[in-house]
């Protein structure tokens, strides 16, 4: 027994006791160096995690006990205060929901009002493109639908990006559409930001529209989004037409000319949407309350077509008014 402290033979004894010490110190140093250089410590800890887990669990027990106790023995007055606060919050939330409901109703009403004055309903038909004719003077599409499918001259064409053009010729099974970039084409537009109304003309280039004759004081900037204004009745209002890319004074320096890129994907895709707005009639005045539910009372609706100004579209559209507005 080395710890008994025998005085005799001290040298060899201390050497004997030092041997395991040196071995263990060397081993632990080797471990440390290996861990430092190779970083296998995390691997070992992962391997032994099943054994170390209980230690961690027990060590964190006092903290958990403390937290649980605090929850368990919460004061009654505190709970009551909490409850009261919750109740108050709930009442406020309910009041807010009522308010929102009122706003939603109002929104609905305004929307109907707007729909009434604009007089458009979206009825969309998907058609495929048969042929594309792109040269500087003619930018047209040939569509795989004609009068048999109900296509009429003047129908607007859109795709996922925005306004593409309009139908100009209708055959039995084919129809031809003019693209917005055709030099013969013009769209009534509105700057979405400022509300300025103007007209966008095609240029013959597939990626450019031009907006001449803008007053110098007008509020147009680079990056403004153009949407259809709905004026003229050909295009429904609110569809994107393009984005302004540049504004410069024209040759006479009296007006400003703006360039825009079309929003529609003119050179992509092979299917487009045909919008049929059957009722290109602009109602003026308050919307007829019965217009909401015409199917129930058709006879009372039909006799006087209550539109004092003459319809913009074809006169034959007048009998269809009620049906169009209902859609």
């Amino acid at each position: 027994m080395p710890y008994a402290g025998k005085k005799s033979n001290r040298l060899s004894e201390s050497a004997l006791t030092a041997l395991p010490l040196i071995f263990l110190l060397g081993l632990s140093t080797a471990l440390m160096v290996a861990d430092q250089r190779l970083g296998y410590g995390s691997l070992v800890r992962q391997k032994f995690s099943i054994l170390t887990e209980p230690f961690w669990w027990i060590a964190s027990a006092p903290m958990r006990l403390f937290r649980g106790g605090r929850d368990e023995f919460a004061l009654r007055s505190q709970l009551q205060a909490d409850n009261q606060q919750r109740r108050k919050d709930l009442e406020i939330a309910i009041a807010r929901i009522h308010q929102l409901k009122a706003v939603a109703d109002e929104n609905q009403r305004l929307r109907q009002l707007l729909g009434g004055t604009r007089g458009y309903s979206l009825n969309v038909q998907m058609v495929s493109i048969l042929d594309i004719d792109l040269d500087p003077f003619r930018q047209r599409l040939v569509l795989d639908a004609g009068s048999d499918s109900g296509v009429v001259v003047g129908q607007a064409l859109i795709d996922s990006g925005g306004v593409l053009g309009q139908v100009v010729e209708v055959g039995k099974n084919r129809s031809t559409a003019l693209l917005v970039t055709d030099p013969d084409h013009a769209v009534p537009v509105q700057v979405a930001r400022s509300g300025l109304r103007t007209i966008a003309y095609g240029t013959g280039q597939g990626d450019r529209l031009v907006l001449p004759n803008i007053p110098q004081s007008a509020d147009v900037r680079r990056g403004d989004v153009l949407i259809t204004s709905g004026i003229g009745g050909r295009f429904p209002a609110g569809f994107p037409v393009g984005t302004i890319t540049g504004v410069q004074p024209d040759k006479l320096r009296l007006f400003v000319t703006a360039d825009a890129t079309p929003a529609a994907h003119l050179d992509r895709g092979n299917e487009v949407l045909l919008i049929s707005n059957r009722a290109p009639v602009i109602d003026v005045g308050p919307p007829a309350p019965a217009a909401r539910t015409p199917p129930q009372t058709p006879p009372s609706q039909t006799p006087p077509p209550q539109t004092p100004p003459s319809p913009v579209g074809s006169p034959t559209a007048a009998p269809e008014t009620a049906a169009g507005a209902a859609q």
Partner: protein
């Protein structure tokens, strides 16, 4: 000679020491956490030298290394050094009065801290604040209580057997 205490008391105390090593503490107390494992080891080295030795120290140190985030082998190294010193001075240490024993343990813990600091220096770990050197002082204050407590536990265990 008094029969050495049963194994479960030694193992249980080491397990408690390991748990204490990972006990969540506030950040301020984190660096002054006394090295309870070393103190337990010193106690058993003095009172049960037949059962606890360099090998025990190495194994306990490795366990602590796996359990905590220290460099693998670091605590094993430190505890082996401490064990060797205690084994050498065991005969004298055992018959010191309690306060003198506590001071000696404090010196041992300080030595341990220095070794740890050197290892961290070599490994390139971030240095500790000055609070790091306060832990041995806490160890000194804690030692008498620990000693008395373990003595009582040992007596109780012996009476039962």
């Amino acid at each position: 000679m008094i029969r050495p205490p049963t194994g479960w008391l030694i193992h249980g105390s080491f397990a408690l020491g390991l748990i204490f090593a990972v006990l969540p503490l506030p950040a301020v107390l984190q660096s002054v956490r006394p090295y309870l494992l070393a103190m337990l080891l010193a106690y058993w080295l003095m009172e049960a030298p037949n059962r606890v030795g360099l090998g025990t120290a190495f194994l306990v140190g490795l366990c602590a290394d796996v359990l905590t985030a220290s460099l693998l082998g670091e605590q094993a190294f430190r505890l082996v050094v401490l064990t060797y010193i205690v084994q050498h001075f065991r005969a004298r240490l055992r018959f010191f009065p309690l306060w003198q024993q506590a001071v000696t343990i404090g010196l041992l813990l300080l030595n341990d801290r220095i070794i740890s600091w050197l290892i961290h220096l070599f490994a390139g770990s971030p240095s500790h604040g000055w609070l790091y050197w306060l832990a041995p002082v806490l160890g000194v204050l804690l030692w008498p209580w620990l000693y008395v407590l373990l003595d009582l536990a040992r007596l109780r265990a012996r009476e039962r057997s």
